[in-house]
Protein backbone atom coordinates (compact mmCIF):
# COMPACT_ATOMS: atom_id res chain seq x y z
CA UNK A 1 0.00 0.00 0.00
CA UNK A 2 2.74 2.37 1.01
CA UNK A 3 5.24 0.71 -1.29
CA UNK A 4 6.90 2.65 -4.09
CA UNK A 5 8.47 1.41 -7.31
CA UNK A 6 11.95 2.80 -7.77
CA UNK A 7 14.37 2.70 -10.70
CA UNK A 8 18.08 2.99 -10.15
CA UNK A 9 21.38 1.75 -11.54
CA UNK A 10 23.45 -0.70 -9.55
CA UNK A 11 26.93 -1.66 -10.78
CA UNK A 12 26.06 -0.43 -14.23
CA UNK A 13 22.81 -2.39 -14.54
CA UNK A 14 19.33 -0.82 -14.43
CA UNK A 15 17.26 -2.15 -11.56
CA UNK A 16 13.60 -1.80 -10.63
CA UNK A 17 12.36 -2.65 -7.14
CA UNK A 18 9.23 -2.21 -5.08
CA UNK A 19 10.10 -0.88 -1.62
CA UNK A 20 8.48 0.44 1.52
CA UNK A 21 9.84 3.92 2.35
CA UNK A 22 11.23 2.65 5.65
CA UNK A 23 13.60 0.23 3.90
CA UNK A 24 17.22 1.36 3.61
CA UNK A 25 19.44 1.13 0.55
CA UNK A 26 21.54 -1.39 2.50
CA UNK A 27 18.54 -3.67 2.96
CA UNK A 28 17.54 -3.43 -0.71
CA UNK A 29 21.07 -4.23 -1.90
CA UNK A 30 21.30 -7.28 0.35
CA UNK A 31 17.73 -8.63 0.36
CA UNK A 32 16.33 -7.71 -3.05
CA UNK A 33 19.50 -7.75 -5.15
CA UNK A 34 21.46 -10.43 -3.27
CA UNK A 35 24.50 -8.14 -3.17
CA UNK A 36 25.66 -9.20 0.27
CA UNK A 37 29.15 -7.74 0.01
CA UNK A 38 27.83 -4.58 1.70
CA UNK A 39 27.53 -5.23 5.43
CA UNK A 40 25.72 -3.89 8.48
CA UNK A 41 27.92 -3.62 11.56
CA UNK A 42 26.55 -0.65 13.49
CA UNK A 43 23.54 0.46 11.46
CA UNK A 44 24.05 4.03 12.69
CA UNK A 45 26.54 5.53 10.26
CA UNK A 46 29.60 5.23 12.48
CA UNK A 47 31.60 2.23 11.20
CA UNK A 48 31.46 2.38 7.40
CA UNK A 49 30.89 -1.35 6.84
CA UNK A 50 27.84 -0.42 4.75
CA UNK A 51 29.75 2.03 2.53
CA UNK A 52 28.71 2.20 -1.12
CA UNK A 53 29.43 4.81 -3.78
CA UNK A 54 26.34 6.81 -4.71
CA UNK A 55 26.66 9.14 -7.71
CA UNK A 56 30.42 9.14 -7.22
CA UNK A 57 30.48 9.82 -3.47
CA UNK A 58 30.82 7.40 -0.58
CA UNK A 59 27.78 7.13 1.68
CA UNK A 60 26.63 4.92 4.55
CA UNK A 61 23.90 2.89 2.86
CA UNK A 62 22.36 2.11 6.27
CA UNK A 63 21.35 5.77 6.45
CA UNK A 64 20.03 6.18 2.90
CA UNK A 65 16.38 5.32 2.32
CA UNK A 66 16.01 3.13 -0.76
CA UNK A 67 13.44 5.61 -2.10
CA UNK A 68 16.09 8.34 -1.89
CA UNK A 69 18.27 6.31 -4.29
CA UNK A 70 15.69 6.59 -7.07
CA UNK A 71 17.40 7.60 -10.31
CA UNK A 72 20.89 7.35 -8.82
CA UNK A 73 23.93 5.21 -9.68
CA UNK A 74 25.25 2.89 -7.03
CA UNK A 75 28.58 1.08 -7.01
CA UNK A 76 28.99 -1.80 -4.56
CA UNK A 77 32.05 -3.99 -3.98
CA UNK A 78 30.61 -6.52 -6.42
CA UNK A 79 30.85 -3.93 -9.16
CA UNK A 80 34.61 -3.47 -8.98
CA UNK A 81 35.81 -6.51 -10.87
CA UNK A 82 35.81 -6.42 -14.67
CA UNK A 83 35.26 -9.63 -16.68
CA UNK A 84 36.39 -11.78 -13.78
CA UNK A 85 39.53 -9.69 -13.18
CA UNK A 86 39.98 -8.11 -9.77
CA UNK A 87 40.33 -4.34 -9.53
CA UNK A 88 43.88 -3.24 -8.58
CA UNK A 89 42.55 -2.23 -5.17
CA UNK A 90 41.16 -5.69 -4.53
CA UNK A 91 44.41 -7.24 -5.75
CA UNK A 92 46.50 -4.95 -3.56
CA UNK A 93 44.44 -5.69 -0.43
CA UNK A 94 45.03 -9.40 -0.94
CA UNK A 95 48.73 -9.08 -1.77
CA UNK A 96 49.51 -6.68 1.06
CA UNK A 97 47.78 -8.81 3.70
CA UNK A 98 45.21 -6.08 4.37
CA UNK A 99 42.35 -8.56 4.84
CA UNK A 100 41.85 -10.57 8.04
CA UNK A 101 38.22 -11.32 8.82
CA UNK A 102 37.19 -9.34 5.75
CA UNK A 103 34.12 -7.69 7.25
CA UNK A 104 35.34 -4.10 6.88
CA UNK A 105 37.01 -4.80 3.54
CA UNK A 106 34.24 -3.99 1.05
CA UNK A 107 33.64 -0.61 2.70
CA UNK A 108 37.38 0.09 2.98
CA UNK A 109 37.97 -0.67 -0.67
CA UNK A 110 35.12 1.53 -1.82
CA UNK A 111 36.31 4.46 0.32
CA UNK A 112 39.78 3.92 -1.16
CA UNK A 113 38.34 3.83 -4.67
CA UNK A 114 36.50 7.12 -4.13
CA UNK A 115 39.79 8.63 -2.91
CA UNK A 116 41.87 7.41 -5.85
CA UNK A 117 39.22 8.52 -8.33
CA UNK A 118 39.61 12.05 -7.04
CA UNK A 119 43.28 12.01 -5.96
CA UNK A 120 45.37 9.40 -7.79
CA UNK A 121 48.50 10.14 -5.75
CA UNK A 122 47.51 10.56 -2.12
CA UNK A 123 50.02 10.76 0.72
CA UNK A 124 49.56 8.76 3.89
CA UNK A 125 47.67 11.51 5.72
CA UNK A 126 45.23 11.85 2.84
CA UNK A 127 44.68 8.08 2.74
CA UNK A 128 44.01 7.92 6.48
CA UNK A 129 41.63 10.89 6.26
CA UNK A 130 39.71 9.29 3.37
CA UNK A 131 39.40 6.00 5.27
CA UNK A 132 38.53 7.72 8.57
CA UNK A 133 34.92 6.59 8.18
CA UNK A 134 35.78 2.88 7.97
CA UNK A 135 36.61 1.02 11.18
CA UNK A 136 38.66 -2.20 11.27
CA UNK A 137 38.92 -4.31 14.42
CA UNK A 138 41.49 -6.78 13.07
CA UNK A 139 44.36 -5.26 11.15
CA UNK A 140 45.46 -2.08 12.92
CA UNK A 141 45.14 -0.28 9.55
CA UNK A 142 48.85 -0.32 8.60
CA UNK A 143 48.53 -2.92 5.84
CA UNK A 144 45.32 -1.31 4.64
CA UNK A 145 47.17 1.96 4.10
CA UNK A 146 50.02 0.07 2.37
CA UNK A 147 47.46 -1.62 0.12
CA UNK A 148 45.97 1.70 -0.95
CA UNK A 149 49.47 3.02 -1.71
CA UNK A 150 50.25 -0.11 -3.73
CA UNK A 151 46.99 0.18 -5.64
CA UNK A 152 47.71 3.83 -6.42
CA UNK A 153 51.09 2.84 -7.84
CA UNK A 154 49.55 -0.02 -9.85
CA UNK A 155 46.85 2.25 -11.30
CA UNK A 156 49.44 4.85 -12.26
CA UNK A 157 51.58 2.16 -13.89
CA UNK A 158 48.62 0.79 -15.82
CA UNK A 159 47.61 4.23 -17.03
CA UNK A 160 51.16 5.17 -18.01
CA UNK A 161 51.87 1.84 -19.72
Amino acid sequence: MNEKMINLKVNGEPVEVLVDPSVTLLQVLRDKLQLTGTKEACGLGECGACTVILDGKTVNSCLVLAVEAKGKEILTIEGLQKNGNLHPLQQAFIEQGAVQCGFCTPGMILSAKALLDENPDPDEAEIREALAGNLCRCTGYVKIVEAVKAAARALKYNNGG
Partner: protein, 305 residues
Protein backbone atom coordinates in the same frame (compact mmCIF):
# COMPACT_ATOMS: atom_id res chain seq x y z
CA UNK B 1 17.12 -11.32 6.74
CA UNK B 2 17.62 -9.88 10.20
CA UNK B 3 19.36 -6.60 10.88
CA UNK B 4 20.67 -4.82 13.98
CA UNK B 5 18.69 -1.70 13.24
CA UNK B 6 15.32 -1.00 11.67
CA UNK B 7 13.38 2.12 10.80
CA UNK B 8 9.78 2.40 12.01
CA UNK B 9 7.23 2.82 9.23
CA UNK B 10 6.11 6.28 8.10
CA UNK B 11 4.27 8.07 5.30
CA UNK B 12 6.78 9.46 2.80
CA UNK B 13 6.44 12.57 0.65
CA UNK B 14 8.84 13.95 -1.91
CA UNK B 15 7.55 17.39 -2.94
CA UNK B 16 9.13 19.03 -5.96
CA UNK B 17 8.72 22.65 -4.86
CA UNK B 18 9.36 24.59 -1.68
CA UNK B 19 5.72 25.69 -1.53
CA UNK B 20 4.58 22.07 -1.69
CA UNK B 21 7.04 21.11 1.05
CA UNK B 22 5.91 23.91 3.37
CA UNK B 23 2.30 23.03 2.74
CA UNK B 24 2.88 19.37 3.59
CA UNK B 25 4.80 20.28 6.73
CA UNK B 26 2.02 22.60 7.85
CA UNK B 27 -0.78 20.14 7.16
CA UNK B 28 0.69 16.80 8.16
CA UNK B 29 0.61 17.62 11.83
CA UNK B 30 3.09 17.84 14.64
CA UNK B 31 4.76 14.47 14.29
CA UNK B 32 6.21 15.26 10.86
CA UNK B 33 9.91 15.58 10.16
CA UNK B 34 11.97 17.00 7.33
CA UNK B 35 14.32 14.59 5.58
CA UNK B 36 17.42 16.14 4.04
CA UNK B 37 20.65 14.16 4.46
CA UNK B 38 19.08 11.91 7.08
CA UNK B 39 22.29 11.44 9.03
CA UNK B 40 20.75 12.78 12.24
CA UNK B 41 17.08 11.93 11.73
CA UNK B 42 17.42 8.32 10.60
CA UNK B 43 19.84 7.59 13.45
CA UNK B 44 17.33 9.00 15.95
CA UNK B 45 14.55 6.94 14.38
CA UNK B 46 16.62 3.76 14.56
CA UNK B 47 17.38 4.45 18.21
CA UNK B 48 13.68 4.96 18.96
CA UNK B 49 14.17 8.62 19.91
CA UNK B 50 11.89 9.81 17.13
CA UNK B 51 8.91 8.11 15.57
CA UNK B 52 7.53 10.51 12.97
CA UNK B 53 4.23 9.73 11.33
CA UNK B 54 5.44 11.34 8.11
CA UNK B 55 8.69 12.35 6.48
CA UNK B 56 8.82 15.21 4.00
CA UNK B 57 11.92 14.79 1.88
CA UNK B 58 13.53 17.94 0.47
CA UNK B 59 15.69 15.96 -1.91
CA UNK B 60 13.62 16.50 -5.07
CA UNK B 61 13.59 20.26 -4.57
CA UNK B 62 16.02 22.05 -6.87
CA UNK B 63 16.42 25.14 -4.66
CA UNK B 64 18.88 25.85 -1.86
CA UNK B 65 21.87 24.07 -3.37
CA UNK B 66 24.00 27.03 -4.45
CA UNK B 67 26.96 28.75 -2.87
CA UNK B 68 26.74 32.27 -4.26
CA UNK B 69 28.79 35.40 -3.68
CA UNK B 70 26.42 38.12 -2.46
CA UNK B 71 26.42 41.74 -3.62
CA UNK B 72 28.69 43.58 -1.20
CA UNK B 73 31.16 40.75 -0.75
CA UNK B 74 29.28 38.31 1.48
CA UNK B 75 28.32 34.72 0.73
CA UNK B 76 24.93 33.01 0.49
CA UNK B 77 24.85 29.29 1.15
CA UNK B 78 21.81 27.21 0.28
CA UNK B 79 20.71 25.05 3.22
CA UNK B 80 20.71 21.83 1.20
CA UNK B 81 24.45 21.98 0.51
CA UNK B 82 26.27 18.98 1.97
CA UNK B 83 28.93 19.39 4.64
CA UNK B 84 31.44 17.93 2.13
CA UNK B 85 30.67 20.69 -0.30
CA UNK B 86 31.26 23.31 2.38
CA UNK B 87 34.55 21.69 3.40
CA UNK B 88 35.90 21.66 -0.15
CA UNK B 89 34.48 24.93 -1.51
CA UNK B 90 37.17 27.37 -2.67
CA UNK B 91 34.74 30.29 -2.26
CA UNK B 92 34.47 29.41 1.42
CA UNK B 93 38.18 28.64 1.85
CA UNK B 94 39.21 32.01 0.41
CA UNK B 95 37.47 34.40 2.78
CA UNK B 96 35.37 32.36 5.23
CA UNK B 97 38.00 29.77 6.10
CA UNK B 98 36.71 29.17 9.63
CA UNK B 99 33.54 27.63 8.18
CA UNK B 100 35.40 25.26 5.84
CA UNK B 101 37.63 24.34 8.75
CA UNK B 102 34.64 23.55 11.00
CA UNK B 103 32.93 21.51 8.28
CA UNK B 104 36.09 19.45 7.82
CA UNK B 105 36.10 18.42 11.49
CA UNK B 106 32.72 16.77 11.29
CA UNK B 107 32.00 13.06 11.46
CA UNK B 108 33.15 10.86 8.58
CA UNK B 109 33.46 11.39 4.81
CA UNK B 110 30.38 9.23 4.22
CA UNK B 111 28.30 11.29 6.64
CA UNK B 112 29.63 14.60 5.29
CA UNK B 113 28.62 13.51 1.78
CA UNK B 114 24.94 13.27 2.84
CA UNK B 115 24.50 15.59 5.81
CA UNK B 116 23.44 19.15 4.99
CA UNK B 117 24.30 22.48 6.59
CA UNK B 118 20.58 23.13 7.03
CA UNK B 119 20.14 19.83 8.81
CA UNK B 120 23.13 20.47 11.08
CA UNK B 121 21.67 23.83 12.13
CA UNK B 122 18.06 22.62 12.49
CA UNK B 123 19.14 19.61 14.56
CA UNK B 124 20.47 22.32 16.87
CA UNK B 125 22.80 20.20 18.93
CA UNK B 126 24.72 22.51 21.30
CA UNK B 127 27.80 20.65 20.02
CA UNK B 128 27.14 21.28 16.31
CA UNK B 129 30.35 22.32 14.57
CA UNK B 130 29.10 24.67 11.87
CA UNK B 131 27.10 26.79 14.33
CA UNK B 132 29.99 28.44 16.26
CA UNK B 133 31.84 29.17 13.02
CA UNK B 134 28.76 30.70 11.39
CA UNK B 135 27.86 32.77 14.47
CA UNK B 136 31.46 34.04 14.62
CA UNK B 137 31.09 35.13 10.99
CA UNK B 138 27.98 37.12 11.91
CA UNK B 139 25.66 34.95 9.81
CA UNK B 140 21.94 35.33 9.36
CA UNK B 141 19.46 32.68 8.26
CA UNK B 142 16.55 32.96 5.85
CA UNK B 143 13.49 30.89 6.70
CA UNK B 144 10.83 30.14 4.08
CA UNK B 145 7.24 29.39 5.02
CA UNK B 146 3.74 29.47 3.64
CA UNK B 147 3.14 33.06 4.69
CA UNK B 148 6.45 34.32 3.29
CA UNK B 149 10.03 34.60 4.45
CA UNK B 150 11.83 35.94 7.46
CA UNK B 151 15.50 36.53 8.20
CA UNK B 152 17.15 36.54 11.59
CA UNK B 153 20.57 36.34 13.21
CA UNK B 154 21.75 32.75 13.55
CA UNK B 155 22.33 33.31 17.28
CA UNK B 156 18.59 33.91 17.65
CA UNK B 157 17.68 30.81 15.65
CA UNK B 158 18.52 28.38 18.48
CA UNK B 159 16.14 28.30 21.44
CA UNK B 160 17.53 25.39 23.44
CA UNK B 161 19.28 22.02 23.06
CA UNK B 162 17.79 20.50 19.91
CA UNK B 163 15.29 23.36 19.54
CA UNK B 164 14.97 26.18 17.04
CA UNK B 165 12.46 28.93 16.36
CA UNK B 166 11.28 27.26 13.16
CA UNK B 167 7.49 27.35 12.97
CA UNK B 168 5.39 24.53 11.60
CA UNK B 169 5.48 24.73 7.80
CA UNK B 170 8.79 26.62 7.74
CA UNK B 171 12.08 25.42 6.38
CA UNK B 172 15.58 26.83 6.70
CA UNK B 173 16.37 28.03 3.19
CA UNK B 174 19.66 29.87 3.18
CA UNK B 175 22.56 31.01 5.33
CA UNK B 176 23.67 34.58 4.67
CA UNK B 177 27.22 35.50 5.62
CA UNK B 178 28.21 39.18 5.52
CA UNK B 179 31.41 40.38 3.88
CA UNK B 180 34.36 39.96 6.23
CA UNK B 181 36.30 43.08 7.19
CA UNK B 182 39.83 43.32 5.91
CA UNK B 183 42.50 42.02 8.29
CA UNK B 184 40.14 39.31 9.59
CA UNK B 185 41.37 35.90 10.69
CA UNK B 186 39.35 33.04 12.16
CA UNK B 187 39.96 29.59 13.61
CA UNK B 188 37.76 26.77 14.91
CA UNK B 189 39.27 24.50 17.55
CA UNK B 190 37.50 21.39 18.78
CA UNK B 191 38.16 18.83 21.50
CA UNK B 192 36.69 15.38 20.96
CA UNK B 193 37.38 11.86 22.26
CA UNK B 194 38.39 10.60 18.82
CA UNK B 195 39.18 12.14 15.44
CA UNK B 196 36.17 14.11 14.22
CA UNK B 197 33.95 12.83 17.01
CA UNK B 198 31.12 14.90 18.42
CA UNK B 199 32.66 17.94 20.15
CA UNK B 200 33.27 17.71 23.88
CA UNK B 201 33.95 21.43 23.72
CA UNK B 202 34.69 23.78 20.83
CA UNK B 203 35.61 27.41 20.26
CA UNK B 204 35.30 29.59 17.16
CA UNK B 205 37.38 32.77 17.30
CA UNK B 206 37.33 35.56 14.74
CA UNK B 207 39.59 38.62 15.13
CA UNK B 208 39.97 41.84 13.16
CA UNK B 209 43.29 43.67 13.38
CA UNK B 210 43.77 47.43 13.26
CA UNK B 211 45.14 48.88 10.00
CA UNK B 212 48.69 48.89 11.39
CA UNK B 213 48.24 45.29 12.51
CA UNK B 214 49.23 45.97 16.10
CA UNK B 215 45.99 45.89 18.03
CA UNK B 216 42.89 43.76 17.95
CA UNK B 217 40.15 46.05 16.65
CA UNK B 218 37.31 43.59 17.07
CA UNK B 219 36.74 39.99 18.08
CA UNK B 220 33.99 37.40 18.08
CA UNK B 221 34.35 34.39 20.34
CA UNK B 222 31.73 31.64 20.19
CA UNK B 223 31.58 28.54 22.36
CA UNK B 224 30.19 25.15 21.34
CA UNK B 225 29.07 22.33 23.64
CA UNK B 226 29.53 24.68 26.58
CA UNK B 227 25.93 25.83 27.14
CA UNK B 228 22.36 24.82 26.18
CA UNK B 229 22.94 26.55 22.85
CA UNK B 230 25.92 27.99 21.02
CA UNK B 231 26.88 31.21 22.89
CA UNK B 232 29.08 34.20 22.33
CA UNK B 233 31.34 35.45 25.09
CA UNK B 234 31.04 39.26 25.15
CA UNK B 235 33.34 39.44 28.18
CA UNK B 236 36.11 37.61 26.32
CA UNK B 237 35.55 39.84 23.29
CA UNK B 238 35.80 42.97 25.46
CA UNK B 239 39.09 41.73 26.95
CA UNK B 240 40.61 41.92 23.47
CA UNK B 241 39.07 45.01 21.88
CA UNK B 242 41.54 47.80 21.31
CA UNK B 243 44.37 45.93 23.03
CA UNK B 244 47.66 44.56 21.77
CA UNK B 245 46.89 40.82 21.76
CA UNK B 246 49.90 39.54 23.70
CA UNK B 247 49.98 36.36 25.78
CA UNK B 248 48.56 38.06 28.87
CA UNK B 249 45.61 39.59 27.02
CA UNK B 250 44.85 36.28 25.32
CA UNK B 251 44.90 34.47 28.67
CA UNK B 252 42.52 37.05 30.13
CA UNK B 253 40.12 36.59 27.22
CA UNK B 254 40.38 32.80 27.57
CA UNK B 255 39.58 33.02 31.27
CA UNK B 256 36.60 35.28 30.61
CA UNK B 257 35.28 32.84 28.02
CA UNK B 258 35.61 29.99 30.49
CA UNK B 259 33.73 31.97 33.14
CA UNK B 260 30.74 32.63 30.95
CA UNK B 261 30.37 29.00 29.86
CA UNK B 262 27.54 26.93 31.39
CA UNK B 263 28.39 23.36 30.39
CA UNK B 264 26.77 20.14 31.54
CA UNK B 265 28.39 16.93 32.74
CA UNK B 266 27.73 13.99 30.43
CA UNK B 267 29.31 10.84 29.03
CA UNK B 268 32.00 12.82 27.23
CA UNK B 269 33.18 15.05 30.09
CA UNK B 270 32.36 16.70 33.40
CA UNK B 271 31.23 20.32 33.54
CA UNK B 272 34.47 21.26 35.36
CA UNK B 273 36.61 19.72 32.64
CA UNK B 274 34.62 21.45 29.93
CA UNK B 275 34.96 24.81 31.65
CA UNK B 276 38.72 24.31 31.92
CA UNK B 277 38.95 23.24 28.28
CA UNK B 278 37.02 26.34 27.14
CA UNK B 279 39.91 28.34 28.55
CA UNK B 280 42.55 26.19 26.83
CA UNK B 281 40.76 26.10 23.47
CA UNK B 282 39.92 29.81 23.47
CA UNK B 283 43.61 30.65 23.87
CA UNK B 284 44.51 28.24 21.04
CA UNK B 285 41.77 29.50 18.72
CA UNK B 286 42.74 33.13 19.35
CA UNK B 287 46.42 32.49 18.63
CA UNK B 288 45.54 30.72 15.38
CA UNK B 289 43.03 33.41 14.38
CA UNK B 290 45.57 36.17 15.01
CA UNK B 291 48.16 34.34 12.93
CA UNK B 292 45.70 34.06 10.04
CA UNK B 293 44.77 37.74 10.32
CA UNK B 294 48.47 38.71 10.22
CA UNK B 295 49.06 36.42 7.21
CA UNK B 296 46.26 38.23 5.41
CA UNK B 297 47.91 41.56 6.19
CA UNK B 298 51.33 40.57 4.95
CA UNK B 299 50.23 38.77 1.76
CA UNK B 300 50.54 41.02 -1.23
CA UNK B 301 47.35 42.39 -2.70
CA UNK B 302 45.19 42.06 0.39
CA UNK B 303 41.68 43.40 0.43
CA UNK B 304 40.78 46.76 -0.95
CA UNK B 305 37.60 47.40 1.08
Amino acid sequence: MTYLTYLPKFAYYEPETTAEACSLLANEGENTRILAGGTDLLVKMKRGLEQPRSLVSLNRIADFRDIQPAAGGGLNIGALNTISRLASSTLIKERFGILGQAAGTMALPQVRNRGTIGGNLCNASPAADTAPALVALGSRVRLAGLSGERTLALEDFFSGPGRTVLRRGEILAEILIPAPLPRTGGSYVKLSPRHNDLATVSVAALVVLSPDGRTCEDACIVLGAAAPTVIRSPQAEQALKGKIPDGGVIQEAARAASECSRPVSDVRASAEYRREMVMVLTAQALKQALEKAREGLSSSGGQTK
